[in-house]
Amino acid sequence: MSRIEEALKGKKVFIGSLTAGDPSLEKTQEFIQEIEAAGASLIEIGIPFSDPIAEGQIIQDANVRALSAPGGCTTDMIFDMVAKVRGNISVPLVFVLYLNQVYKYGYERFCQKCQETGVDGLVIPDLPYEERGELAPIAEKYGVDVISMIAPAGEDRIKMIAKEAKGYIYLAASVGAEPEMMVRAIREVTDIPVVVGYGIHTPEQVQTYSKIADGVIVDDPIVELIGTHREQAGTYLRSYVKSMKAYMEE
């Protein structure tokens, strides 16, 4: 069982996701601690990318802000930030980034760096099941889970992906389809946590999806709070995450 699976086992999971370097890496470090303190079970850290093709406007804007911040925001600077924050928090940390950022860094070197600094998993939107074979074995060697995403598809495809999934399953269920059917299909082949993400905004969604699945991933509202309150976002994040968590069924 991986570190992530161990940490999420038997819980209703709230995953908060933010963009590194917005408004600064020092603040990202503080925000991560706030989100953990408010009760998140895992935190996803978005590595800003020049061309985030799978993101909506809110996260695209945060990426632009982070990349154009004074001093920039490189992958190495983010690893340094993770190494610092690791000592203060215990929840698993997962990077959300695009395959080119890992590929160009070097799969081996990147995964080794994850292990050294304490990054437990990678969510890579442009790495579908068909292509994960080039990274997954290397990541596994360094104890890093490559998270699988599942979207509305035939039951065969859902099961095929779920069978090889590690850490948790990122279920993009809010784009039509029937999440109940998808969760049922996944449950037939694996026990790892199924967490619903992609467009989770409202308390009602948190309530519904934490019943159907093992929890939710909330990104846009968190990134938007940071976009609005900048340096002062910390206290807002704490109360926001607490209030959303209250809607989850334990």
Partner: protein, 394 residues
């Protein structure tokens, strides 16, 4: 390893949300490419509507003036809508219709692919929305209005560098949001499999014709085949049937902008490195952390930080060569071919013409070059005037 590989390049690096639809497209294409009705309808459209076959024109004056190899132009600029893009869109929009789609979306740089897609959609009765970088909507305002006349909705993309790559990003997002009734009609030999294959197949009509035409006119194969390369669709179409002819040298001309030693360049083969972006593994202009570089060229159609995976492989195996051509060289060529041959060629195609001007004088008179004139240059006249400091009021 997944399907759609060209050596190490290609693949299907797209969000899971799109995979289902990509598989459906693959299946539909594999079926229809062998379907007689589909091919009959496509061939009729190419002949009766697009005006194929396009001419293989002997540029006698340029040949004499440059004093070397015999120069032929494959006149894709004479197609309906004024570029090679029509070859691919008729195929893809017809495919969309057979798949039961009622709406197509497409990215465009110079506007040629957007105009072609809007045209095919108008003809075949599909809804059409075009995504174009804000920067490009300014550079190519005439093409924006042309698309609107054809009934398409044009979205000016404000994200990133506001050029072609950002238009592709936006199309991928839009496709992921709305797949049931929509097909993404990709304009070049790029993106995830099966797009590089589909676009290449539909564009290979260029070399199929050119090969037969040169054999008829000269009784032999050419020594050099040349085309400009952005994503690489006209070049792939121009090269494809010549790939097995080992005596034929293949040369792609990419946009060097201000020069490959400046940061104002779009010369991916000269300055790019291996990466994974827009669904494919290939060469890309990027920094050490894999951030895609903001590229530049005077030509909106070549202003792209990557190149199609099959080209990347042709380079790796040494089957094709890729040379950089600067803005200045391309503008000179634009003016030269207008003056010498009476042809106003697209600024994109003028990159290839510029290399013809360099190469032809170094070759002997019994040698032959075929250069693809991928599009006509009416759309570029205002930009060329600006480049020369001439103030135009239309």
């Amino acid at each position: 390893m997944a399907k759609g590989r060209y050596g190490i390049h290609g693949g299907q690096y797209v969000p899971e949300i799109l995979m289902n639809e990509i598989h459906k497209l693959e299946e539909a294409y594999e079926f229809y490419k062998k379907d007689k009705d589909f091919n009959d309808e496509l061939n009729t459209l190419l002949r009766e509507y697009a005006g194929r076959p396009s001419l293989l024109y002997y540029a006698e004056k340029m040949t004499k003036d440059l004093g070397g190899a015999k120069i032929y132009f494959k006149r894709e600029d004479l197609n309906h809508t004024g570029s090679h893009k029509i070859n691919n869109v008729l195929g893809q929009v017809l495919l969309a219709k057979r798949m039961g789609k009622t709406r197509v979306i497409a990215e465009t740089g110079a506007g040629q692919h957007g105009v072609a897609t809007a045209t095919a959609a108008a003809l075949l009765g599909l809804e059409c929305e075009i995504y174009m970088g804000k920067e490009d909507t300014i550079r190519q305002a005439l093409n924006v209005y042309r698309m609107k006349l054809l009934g398409a909705k044009v979205h000016a993309v404000e994200s990133g560098t506001k050029t072609l790559k950002d238009a592709v990003n936006e199309c991928m997002r839009e496709w992921a949001n709305r797949m049931e009734d929509t097909l993404y009609v990709l304009g070049s030999v790029m993106g995830p499999h099966p797009f590089p294959m589909i676009v290449r197949d539909f564009q290979s009509v260029i070399s199929r014709e050119a090969r037969a035409q040169i054999l008829e006119k000269e009784g032999r194969l050419p020594d050099v085949v040349m085309a400009c390369v952005g994503g690489g669709s006209n070049a792939m179409g121009m090269f494809y049937e010549f790939i097995p002819d080992e005596s034929v040298q293949l040369i792609g001309c990419e946009a060097a902008g201000h020069g490959i030693h400046t940061d104002k360049t779009a010369a991916t083969m000269a300055t790019g490195t291996l990466g994974v972006f827009h669904g494919m593994k290939s060469y890309f202009c990027q920094n050490e952390y894999g951030q895609i570089a903001p590229v530049y060229s005077i030509s909106a159609g070549l202003d792209y930080p990557g190149v199609g995976p099959e080209h990347a492989n042709l380079k790796d195996i040494g089957r094709a060569q890729y040379v950089p051509v600067t803005d200045d060289e391309a503008v000179n060529a634009f003016e030269y071919i207008a003056r010498t041959e009476g042809i106003i060629a697209a600024i994109e195609s003028s990159h290839a013409v510029a290399h013809v001007m360099k190469l032809a004088p170094t070759m002997s008179k019994d040698q032959i070059i075929i250069c693809c004139l991928s599009g006509r240059g009416d759309k570029d006249v205002a930009a060329i005037a600006r480049y020369r400091g001439v103030d135009l009021h239309e």
